[in-house]
Symmetry: C2
Subunit: 339 residues, 2 copies
Amino acid sequence: MKNHLLLKAAAGEKVERPPVWLMRQAGRVLPGYRKLRGSVDDFTQLVKTPELACEATIEPVKLLGVDAAIIFSDILVVPESMGLPYKMIESKGPWFKKTIRGNKEIDALNNGVYHDWEYVIKAIEMVKRELNDSVPLIGFAGSPFTIFAYMTEGVGSKTFSQAKRLLFAEPDTAHRLLQKITDTTIVYLKSQIKAGADIIQIFDSWGGILGYDTYKEFSLNYISQICEALNGMAPVIVFPKGAFFASHELKKLNCNVIGLDWTTAPEEARNALGNKSLQGNLDPCALYAGKRVITDAVNKMCRQFGSRGYIANLGHGLYPDTPTDNVRYFVEAVKNYRD
Amino acid sequence: MKNHLLLKAAAGEKVERPPVWLMRQAGRVLPGYRKLRGSVDDFTQLVKTPELACEATIEPVKLLGVDAAIIFSDILVVPESMGLPYKMIESKGPWFKKTIRGNKEIDALNNGVYHDWEYVIKAIEMVKRELNDSVPLIGFAGSPFTIFAYMTEGVGSKTFSQAKRLLFAEPDTAHRLLQKITDTTIVYLKSQIKAGADIIQIFDSWGGILGYDTYKEFSLNYISQICEALNGMAPVIVFPKGAFFASHELKKLNCNVIGLDWTTAPEEARNALGNKSLQGNLDPCALYAGKRVITDAVNKMCRQFGSRGYIANLGHGLYPDTPTDNVRYFVEAVKNYRD
């Protein structure tokens, strides 16, 4: 690997500057992506066509000069592999025709197998050839609870109250579904690693809607199973959005990096998660401001985290209306940062 | 006042059991409210007709036996009083025809005056007569940042990225608007207290989307101004949803009670906010389960908070599809709780 920064930082090794990438770096902020997206009817066509997914994955590496690529895909590949296909409704988000209401629907689910996500694997193989060991490739999956939330709610939601209803009213049923999702996710991530993914990120996008006690039971336990299963195969980044309230438990995960959203102060995170490398956490809205504000914010962030065991990123995915130049300023500011 | 529990608990005095009320107790979970709502075309008619608002306010006191009434109204009375009228779109939420883009629109705003919210005052006076000192009446307003978020975004949002854009790109403009909102909110809350509100709750519903540094600057500073202005007039409950990350700063507010959402563990809150009374914080989704689960959860919650300086509530407003009986079980469980 020509650029080792991300993998070294994940391992807590000393680096000359923090590595930088952005969640949702392959997306609407980039002109090539917008063109790609315009060339197909449906978002899922990009995900399911390896050539297109590869092109979307590579663009930010070339255009922004980030220190890692992340495979262009969707966390909902997993529920689809289990028998719940989804559509991505423009400016609304995912929509599932079938949802899980109880044991009957759980019984009818498959365990996803290689064939169901072969298009992701092909895309990873193509990307790895194109990258030619220039930067590492990040593979990813949603956390089991995040996938559970979509499979039971059927659409995005502020509260995911239908998903959570099951946790309280039928906890055994919920655990059964979570275990099925976890089993498939482990197989899925192993096949990504085998195809060439150098590091894995688990997006716990919705764990933060759980409580201090339910988070451990319904989200963290299953993330932990994944970390254990991948142990030694590839480093793992866990991004528990909005769930820093569980920092005492997050600390115990067998993973290398914890991703932070922008609500967590760097110093507090270092105190709470001392043994982990950290990733994050600029508010994506800061990229609506100009170059000076962005540069100052990046410098402050890098200084507060310290350059060892630190990966610069946003605290959430890029918002699609962020000016492309401002994304560049973010990346440049990190690359120019020195302790 | 025949039932002093809420006011005593807010003041940190010893009580025989925790007082209990529920955020959004006057709402779709109750049959009388559903009938009232069906009798008008628009939600705002309920808010603006004192007789109807009074009826909605009283129903949960009679039907559920809660220890406090909260005036049936909406936090968006304040922006409307400043010249930004809103509509409540069924199952979507608020919608503003005009929004604030910059200084031009801020210049055009009024400072809301008594006349603009006279219907709320009339409703409070009617409720006070009907309650006849049986239980205290809670008045309320949104936090300035929460109101700012709606005034600039124009609709509800998961990210409020347009609202936050202004904070980063034009902080001086944002502060100007926040100050105007704060000034009006103070006058508004004083007139509620004068009309008979016994205690005030400030709903910081959206402060939690800010970061650890921006929260203090753009939300807490203005909440603090309100607390200072009301000092000695009535006790104040601040409900900083999703913003417990700022507990070090929340502790310094000149208010009596901090409301907690369900992501904060009681013990952690007691440690972080030692001098405050606490309110909350059961996950509203727990009320989807049966009587046993609800009773167990309430007992655990009351035990963990301890009965001194504690007000039992949910960690968020009741979800509209909660079974009415389950709301009753919640209230009964608190009333039956003894240390």
